[in-house]
């Protein structure tokens, strides 16, 4: 088994090879004789499945090791080394990354399979799978990277794939604009990441710039630098994981194909920020101030996007805002130093949100790309499997007791309460109620009541098995994943938390069992109230209301996009055109213009002497001679 470490390099390599092979095949053949979709589908699934298999092998291997030494490092080659900076292309498997590895490859594989059905008959079928494989490879690099720089490779790689896949149907300008927005906003976050990495390097990076060395050197960092690094890295996380103020790209990212939304913009990529904060737990736990900032930003994001989510009518937008909201929970979790709770929520969220997206995808597929929930209704008879699985997903998302979301969310809220962040806890409970409300609003409007548009309803049909089987598998996960981290009061052993413990630096706060139960009851009550209100309003079938007042404000997302557009985008463009139209020719170029003007003016001035009569030129000559003579006469006597 000593070769297990060398598998680490192979895990991201398989999907990357898949991406290159599929990409080349597609690139060379798409114009003249496109290859059959089955070939692409098979090729595309090989890489993720192999990676999943290796991930299991690595996981099993780690499990066989003593808890304190559970890490495998494989440095494939020296990536670059300049001066003190030494970056290995190295991969690290420890409990944290192996957990991420497992579910990323698992869900990734499922979504690849699902996509074969969803993307059928698309003319760029091959391109889609090339990008998907590339994404998975990058995500795995992100997860496995042994240091921040290698992580950054994956970090940017997934951003690129996100861009490519959002603008996948690129003939529609809106899709491309959404892609641009995603990439640019991500890049703003990346700026924070790069700056954070740089400061971190100059502070403690000379002794090795990988997590293990950094962890060892972390206590020597000065508080000012440490907090700065934490906050800068969090800016990066905000960009990638769609937190205030950089969340705006994620709802727009729904322009991509639905499997993309499920895989990238719900289950895996967007949680990278949470993962990164957990990876740097050795740093964040040193500086609780930075952690509090993270937690507050997280919970406020959760609140804000829950408000937006209540008023949306596009099924994918609702899910997108719920994703942002859940990401906010995760940050609240890691912010209050409950890293394992945050990561556990990442884990459960991956299941139920992927499930919900894929279910939404099935609905959309069945209704021929209709996404407006006010044009659906009564679909539970037409799409029974989709309905059942989505209902499980919705219950998990809402945090209904005993479903996976309940345990993970509750763990976070309880940690917040226990560490004294009462405000965060209160908002969190409130948002839990809102989550339940908007989730079930969606479920009721889509599946219950009467069909609102008869024509699309009649054509609706359950999608093929290649799409429903992943739904069922995910539904099982969404329902039961919570069991893995069953807290003590349910007789569980917090398996995930214990598994993650060696990778993370956290202390489990303890309060009396009574407080724990009370806190749990509070959130359950909130959830039940939320579902009840949703049922009251929409359970019996409702007509599309006119948005007024706050609802309208919420539907238009507080006009944040418009404000950003007015405050950042337009001034940026305006500044650009001012520079190129005005400043460049008139100010920057002024020294050149001035000297050429001077030459021209001097020329015009001296033109007076060029009368054109030769004898006048002779006079000039004689005047010169005469001046010379005057001068020379002085020197002779």
């Amino acid at each position: 088994m000593e070769h297990t470490a060398t598998y680490l390099g192979l895990i991201p390599l398989f999907p990357l090879i898949g991406a290159v092979v599929i990409g080349l095949l597609h690139m060379l053949t798409c114009k003249n004789n496109p290859l059959p979709e089955k070939l692409y589908g098979a090729l595309a699934c090989i890489g993720p499945l192999l990676s999943f298999f290796l991930a299991v092998v690595v996981f099993v291997h780690l499990k066989g090791m003593p808890a304190e030494q559970r890490f495998l490092v494989h440095n494939v080659f020296t990536w670059f080394a300049v001066g003190d900076l030494h970056i290995d292309m190295g991969f690290l498997a420890d409990p944290l990354s192996s957990l991420m590895l497992l579910f990323v490859t698992f869900i990734g594989s499922l979504i690849h399979i699902y996509s074969i059905g969803y993307m059928a008959k698309d003319q760029n079928f091959g391109k889609f799978f090339s990008y998907m494989n590339l994404f998975l490879g990058s995500m795995l690099i992100l997860v496995l990277g042994s240091g921040p720089v290698v992580m950054f490779v994956g970090w940017e790689g997934v951003g690129l794939c996100s861009y490519l896949l959002i603008s996948f149907w690129s003939e529609d300008t809106n899709n491309v604009l959404a892609g641009n927005k995603a990439f640019i906003v991500n890049r703003i976050g990346d700026l924070g990441f790069v700056l954070g990495m740089s400061y971190l390097f100059w502070a403690i990076g000379a002794g090795g710039f990988d997590y293990l060395s950094l962890k060892a050197n972390a206590p020597t960092i000065s508080p000012a630098i440490g907090i700065a690094v934490c906050l800068l890295l969090f800016v990066g996380a905000c960009g990638k994981s769609a937190q205030i103020p950089l969340y705006v790209w994620l709802p727009d990212a729904m322009a991509g194909p639905t499997p993309v939304s499920a895989l990238i913009h719900a289950a895996t990529m967007v949680t990278a920020g949470v993962y990164m904060v957990a990876r740097f737990s050795f740093l964040y736990s040193e500086f609780p101030v930075a952690g509090s900032v993270v937690a507050w930003v997280g919970i406020l994001t959760a609140l804000l996007s829950a408000i937006f989510g209540m008023f949306q009518k596009d099924i994918k937008k609702i899910l997108a805002y719920s994703t942002v909201s859940q990401l906010g929970y995760m940050f609240a979790g890691v912010g209050v130093a409950a890293y394992s709770a945050g990561i556990f929520h990442v884990f459960t969220h991956a299941f139920f949100k992927a499930l919900l997206f894929l279910g939404a995808g099935s609905v959309i597929y069945a209704l021929h790309h209709e996404q407006d929930i006010w044009k659906m209704g009564g679909l539970k008879e037409k799409l029974p499997t989709t309905y059942k699985t989505m209902l499980i997903g919705a219950l998990a998302l809402a945090g209904f007791p005993l479903f996976s979301g309940f345990f993970s969310k509750d763990e976070i809220l309880f940690s917040a309460l226990a560490t004294g962040h009462t405000g965060i806890w209160m908002i969190g409970v409130f948002v839990a109620g809102m989550t339940a409300y908007y989730t079930f609003r969606m479920i009721f409007l889509v599946f219950h009541g009467k069909p609102r548009v008869q024509k699309t309803f009649d054509h609706a049909h359950e999608p093929p098995a290649v799409m429903t089987i992943p739904l069922i598998i995910l539904a099982v996960g969404a329902a039961l994943a919570g069991v893995l981290n069953l807290p003590g009061i349910f007789g569980g052993k917090l398996i995930v938390s214990h598994w993650l413990a060696p990778s993370l630096i956290e202390h489990h706060p303890h309060m009396g069992i009574g407080a724990e139960v009370l806190a749990m009851i509070a959130s359950v009550v909130a959830v039940v109230i939320g579902i009840y209100i949703a049922f009251k309003k929409f359970g019996q079938g409702a007509e599309e209301p006119e948005f007024k007042g706050f609802a309208k404000f919420g539907y238009y997302k507080f006009y944040v996009d418009e404000i950003y557009n007015a405050v950042f985008v337009q001034p940026y463009k305006g500044f650009g055109s001012v520079i190129s139209r005005f400043i460049e020719p008139n100010v920057t170029d002024s020294h050149v213009r001035f000297s050429s003007w001077l030459y021209r003016k001097a020329g015009t001035a001296f033109k007076v002497f060029q009368v054109g009569y030769v004898r006048v030129y002779a006079i000039y000559m004689v005047i010169g001679l005469s001046l010379m003579s005057l001068f020379l006469s002085q020197s002779i006597n």
Binding site: V176, N180, M197, T588
Partner: protein
């Protein structure tokens, strides 16, 4: 024969270019001849790269006296500073001959002469020799833009020529000052850079001379605010010439700063480093912002190129080994990414007779191979990890943070600024709906694809395995930085004066 490899790299293209001018050859023949010569140079370059030991000192040295009374010698050498610049030139040059419809033989002759002169400027270790090649370099550029350029080529030609000549004349004056100072301090003439680096210059004249050198190089780089010739010249030049300008000639400006200014003016350089690095980042941001407002794709790429040069220059001014190595690496990376984008653009222009961004669209569907190659070069240019662009940019930002947090932050904004205009352009040109013009866009011919394939592989290779390149640069960069942080001592100078006194008495 290998002892004279450097001379071959310089004079083979120059002589071939002159021969082309004299011989009665058709344009197709000239093109093939040029290709053969540049491939020969490429092989020499690869041999050189493999044989390069990376000790930090000059290698493949050739030295023979030339104008002995003034201590000017014909001396050539390669070290970590010049290696990648040279390689970028020799690897990318053959492409220029294979792409595009054939033009007149004078064009190819000029390209060859430009190649030789650039190699000469890169390889010279004597200041006067460098100056001579530096000036020769401009000549073919003048002809190529002036004779074969776009509709507004004449103002552009005049601007670039006068601008750069003004800079070079300043440099000439400063060069004389340096030579005379050396003579005053050591009692003998020399323009060899190794000997000049022992100079102790101080006082107002030293600052003046330093600024004159810097202006000359700043114009060539071009550093803000001396970049205004660039958009015009890049836009009007034929695409292959723009490529040569952007990929190689601009780099020689940066190279000149590292090779000749830093060793001679250590004190002044350190004193002005902050201001200069500010010029670098401001130029980066300024040109990046200007790029987004361009309608002409070539002009946009021109601004983008200027923007990147700002970052590269910043790497030189940060005075630490990461930034300097990053800048030297980025020189090659930028040549393979942004430089090559000009070639892509040239092909597009040849196919569609327009480079107006608004007239284009939907090319990704018509020409998947073209779009993929273009996208890879573009991503390298915005510094995506895994491509060559990332390593250099990351090292420069890292070094800039050490130098000054504020400058580092501004440098970091290049991550955002670059992406904004590039994506904007990519959206309008490659995505969206195709129109009647782009409907018939031809994908790469086999020959074109094969021409670009090595570069694309190089972009990825340099991004994934940069260490073979960095390993060769780093020792020299370390030496350079060490010299900057501890300037040479006076004792050394006294000793040399003694020696030269004896020398004088003998005469």
């Amino acid at each position: 024969m290998f002892d004279y490899a450097l001379s071959f790299m310089i004079f083979l293209p120059i002589l071939a270019g002159l021969a082309l001018l004299l011989l009665p050859i058709q344009k197709e023949g000239a093109r093939i001849a040029g290709f053969i010569v540049s491939v020969a140079v490429l092989f020499l370059g690869i041999e050189l790269f493999i044989g390069f030991a990376g000790t930090g000192a000059m290698e493949y040295v050739e030295k023979r006296p030339w104008i002995e009374s003034l201590g000017i010698s014909y001396s050539l050498g390669v070290d970590g500073i010049s290696l990648l610049v040279l390689m970028a030139g020799s690897i990318l040059f053959p492409m220029v001959f294979t792409l595009f419809a054939p033009r007149s033989k004078g064009y190819y002759a000029n390209l060859l002469i430009a190649q030789g002169a650039m190699a000469g400027a890169i390889l010279s270790t004597d200041l006067v020799l460098f100056y001579i090649f530096w000036e020769i370099m401009l000549l073919p550029i003048f002809f190529m833009i002036g004779l074969y350029g776009g509709p507004n080529r004449l103002p552009a030609t005049i601007k670039i020529t006068i601008y750069t000549i003004a800079g070079s004349l300043l440099m000439l004056a400063a060069l004389v000052y340096v030579g005379v100072s050396y003579h005053n301090q050591f009692g003998q003439w020399s323009f060899d850079i190794v000997q000049l680096s022992q100079l102790n210059l101080s006082g107002g004249f030293a600052v003046l001379a330093f600024l004159m050198f810097m202006v000359a190089f700043a114009i060539k780089i071009p550093l803000f605010p001396f970049h205004t010739w660039l958009p015009d010249a890049y836009t009007e030049a034929p695409s292959a010439t723009t490529f040569v300008l952007s990929a190689i000639m601009a780099k020689i400006g940066v190279y000149g700063v590292i090779r000749f200014v830093v060793p001679v003016f250590e004190v002044e350089f350190a004193r002005f480093a902050l201001a200069l690095s500010l010029a670098g980042v401001v130029g980066m941001m300024y040109c990046g912002l200007a790029a987004i407002a361009q309608k002409d794709m070539k002009r946009m790429l021109a601004f983008s190129s200027a923007s990147h040069m700002g970052i590269i220059a910043l790497g030189v001014f940060c005075m630490n080994v990461q930034a300097l190595t990053g800048a030297l690496f980025q020189i090659a990376a930028h040549a393979t990414s942004t430089g090559v984008l000009f070639l892509f653009l040239g092909l597009m222009e040849e196919r569609m007779q327009t480079r107006n961004i608004e007239d284009l669209g939907g090319i990704a569907y018509r020409a998947p191979i073209f779009a993929t190659f273009f996208a890879i070069a573009m991503l390298a240019s915005v510094g995506l990890p895994g491509t060559s662009g990332f390593i250099g940019e990351f090292l420069i930002i890292l070094g800039a943070i050490k130098f000054s947090g504020f400058i580092g932050f501004l440098a970091g904004t290049s991550l955002i600024i670059g992406v904004c205009y590039m994506l904007w352009m990519f959206q309008r040109v490659f995505f969206e709906k195709s129109n009647s013009r782009t409907e018939e866009f031809q994908d790469f011919k086999l020959s074109e694809a094969l021409t670009f394939l090595p570069v694309i592989l190089l972009i990825l290779g340099m991004g994934i395995f940069p260490q073979p390149f960095l390993k060769r640069i780093e020792p020299t960069a370390l030496l350079q930085i060490a010299q900057l942080t501890n300037p040479p001592h006076h004792q050394l100078a006294d000793k040399t004066v003694l020696n030269s006194d004896q020398h004088n008495q003998k005469n």
